[in-house]
């Protein structure tokens, strides 16, 4: 009942729940603001910022800094590379489930 398949296709970058959450929200919305992400994920600033940085360094998301009045408004969107990587990750998850169901 071992599952030898496709572990390699799972992307290490998406290992954390918070990163999965960020990518999921960005895939179905053109842009999501920092504050909306914080509300959605219910995480602390430090935690969210470090995960966003991680995703940005991998080239999976882009950051746009702007202002609403005087307040800074940072929004995020997914890059082409990020979309591709996330879809591969989903495919890998799907195959893992198929694999366990067949065995």
């Amino acid at each position: 009942m071992a599952i030898p398949l496709n572990i390699s296709n799972l992307n290490k970058v998406f290992d954390s729940r918070i990163r999965l959450g960020i990518m999921s929200a960005l895939l179905v919305n053109d842009t999501v603001s920092y504050n909306d992400l914080k509300d959605l994920l219910q995480v602390t600033d430090g935690n969210l910022a470090s995960h966003l940085k991680g995703l940005e360094e991998n080239g999976f998301i882009k950051v746009q800094k702007g202002f609403v009045g005087r307040k800074t408004n940072t929004t995020y969107s997914v890059t082409k590379a990020g979309e591709r990587a996330f879809k591969q990750h989903l495919d890998a998850l799907e195959q893992m489930i198929r694999g366990t169901q067949q065995s």
Binding site: L10, S24, I97
Partner: protein, 222 residues
């Protein structure tokens, strides 16, 4: 990663996609309450329209003698201002009650009532309704009163269908129901109030009850 973790991850992804793009706090009670308001409003409107059918300017009589002639104006009818007032009060009461129930539900779920998702929902529903409202005013000025009830149903139904991408998807069935009622009404003008009461009253209540049954009956922890 074992199967359990994989399933958890997929569940997380799915829930995040939904929560970030759809406003899911819309309460079934909002639908039931709006439907109730519509029925009460229709009952008052019925009383106004049929009051003193022996008076020549009664709405019903005038309508039967000059249906949608294009040269009748609303102020020819007895009780027209009461009718407009009833319509406005019905709309205000329905919106207020719908808002209250949804506000209660969003507080329970800890989701802000006014966020990016509810903004998109309001826009998707509001644009067709505002355009429809202006169109109804012009119909009224043109004297085509028989087309107002079906028009309300059609524009509202299309608004719901367009809004269904931004909230619980089942609302599109309510939208199709309103559109079908409106289309049927197009061929039975003069009975608009009955179609209107069916669409805005009965369909809302049935929809609201089904939504409550499906999503709210069992207290959720999500």
């Amino acid at each position: 990663m074992n199967e359990q973790q994989t399933l958890e991850a997929l569940k997380d992804i799915r829930s995040m996609m939904d929560r970030s793009s759809r406003f899911i706090s819309l309460s079934g009670w909002s639908g039931v309450a709006a439907g109730g308001c519509a029925l009460v409003g229709a009952w008052f409107a019925h009383a106004i329209i049929y009051q003193g059918t022996n008076v020549p300017t009664s709405l019903r009589n005038t309508y039967e003698s000059v249906p949608d002639s294009g040269n009748s104006t609303l102020d020819m009818f007895a009780g027209y201002s009461q009718l407009l007032l009833t319509a406005l009060l019905t709309l205000a009461a329905a919106l207020l009650l719908a808002f209250i129930f949804t506000w209660i539900r969003s507080r329970k779920k800890g989701i802000p009532l006014w966020g990016p998702t509810s903004r998109r929902l309001a826009f998707a529903l509001g644009v067709p309704m505002a355009v429809g409202g202006i169109y109804m005013l012009r119909l009224m000025q043109a004297g085509a009163f028989g087309l107002i009830a079906p028009g309300c149903l059609l524009f509202y139904g299309l608004g719901l269908i367009s809004a269904s991408r931004y909230t619980l998807g089942e609302i599109k069935w309510l939208g199709y129901g309103q559109v079908l009622t409106g289309l049927a009404n197009l061929f039975f003008t003069g009975y608009g109030l009955y179609f209107w009461a069916f669409g805005f009253g009965i369909l809302h209540i049935v929809y609201g009850f089904i939504m409550w049954w499906k999503h709210e009956r069992i207290p959720e922890n999500a």
